[in-house]
């Protein structure tokens, strides 16, 4: 927030604090996504989306479960944590109207198009990025559900075209989430410094 590098800036820094529910959401989301991604890559290796049998596989460092059945056990356990966490958070941001106050707005989009203030633009980018990840997380659930129960929810598979397209979309959410985590951290750092990041975690 402070642009002048004053010597006593420590004392003048405003206290950054976050709602406890936002912190809980962040922690559960980080943990569940780590479990979902690592177990998901374990499942991926059983038959790589790109290349099928004989296709390139992820090294064991990034895998969870040890073998296909173990990866599936973790994936279909962590999905509850991931899904329920996203669900209550969704309800929370709608009920508290946080959705309108804390997420990207038309003002941010205007700032991005016409704004001159680089700080305002960074802030707008920050809000834009963490807003658009939400539909990506929902897409991961939708595509995953289509793959988990393709007979009972055949219309989900049809929505994506065919089985391979569904697998590609579900997989693509992994690099998107990883890139998001990096961009989100860097933008938070740019907008609010390490204090902002720490305020969301601790």
């Amino acid at each position: 927030m402070t642009s002048n590098p004053a010597k006593n800036s420590q004392a003048r820094r405003p206290i950054v604090s976050q709602a406890i529910l936002a912190k809980i959401f962040h922690w559960l989301n980080i943990i569940s996504l780590l479990l979902m991604i690592t177990s998901g890559l374990q499942i991926y290796n059983a038959n790589p989306v790109f290349g099928g049998r004989g296709g390139w596989q992820f090294p064991p460092l990034f895998l969870l479960g040890g073998w296909l059945a173990g990866g599936r056990h973790w994936h279909f356990a962590a999905m509850w944590l991931f899904g329920i966490n996203l669900l209550w958070y969704g309800l929370y941001i709608f009920i508290t109207r946080r959705w309108q106050k804390r997420f990207v707005s038309s003002k941010d989009l205007k700032a991005l198009q016409k704004g001159q203030n680089p700080k305002r633009k960074a802030y707008a980018w920050h809000r834009l990025i963490y807003t658009v990840i939400i539909p990506v997380l929902l897409l991961a659930i939708l595509s995953g559900f289509g793959m988990y129960k393709p007979a009972q929810f055949h219309w989900i598979v049809d929505m994506f075209g065919d089985w391979q397209a569904l697998r590609v979309v579900h997989f693509i959410t992994v690099p998107i989430v990883i890139l998001f985590a990096i961009a989100h951290s860097l933008l938070a750092l740019k907008v609010g410094g390490s204090r902002l990041i720490e305020s969301m975690l601790w």
Partner: protein, 238 residues
Amino acid sequence: MRPIQSHLLSRRHLLQLSGLSSMGLLLGGCGLNAFEGIVGKTFEPLNQSVEALLLNPQKPVPEFPASAIEPEALLINTFGSTPQLDPEKFRLTVDGEVNNPLQLSMADIKKMPLTSMIIRHVCVEGWAAIVQWNGVQLRDLVALVQPKANVRYVYFKSADGYSESWDLASALHPQTLMAYQKNSQPLSADNGAPIRLASPIKLGYKQSKWVTRITLVSNLLTSRGYWEDRGYEWFAGL
């Protein structure tokens, strides 16, 4: 100097964060693997009740046009050898807690009403193939042997030693077939000749090939199936 210093500080924090996440990955890669069995056993009952709830035992899964068949996509998976069974000598035993146990030849089975379906076969490994299966509905075979009222599960024994067990509702689904043709051609030995299970509502490992014995029971036995005994989920519904 200040801005540079604060930049360095930020970078250190970023490194801390990345250290935290890679620690998570390492934990995942080593320590947590040991818990997969516990995690599976803990969540399987919950997932299974959701799967059973989602299953509509009477409603057929929408099928595909003949043009959608992918003749090359169905990969061959076996756990051991590929039995070569003589279709003339072959007998399918249907028994268990039933009033009228039967032994059927392929000729007997081919006299029964033929059902054809073009469905998506989904493997636990992640691949899928659109296949046409032709055969008899398992529910017709079950009706022939007159099961007792307490029957709840169906066991399948295969010529290669493979075994499977299904819940009765899934076994009686109209698209659960004992198939003897694939894509309108007689089954090959690799695909389970002379007769195999085929269904759009279960993962591929539930769909036993070279089935020689179908046994209707009221309770699951100690062994619930070849892969299930090794840790795979039992219901495996789609």
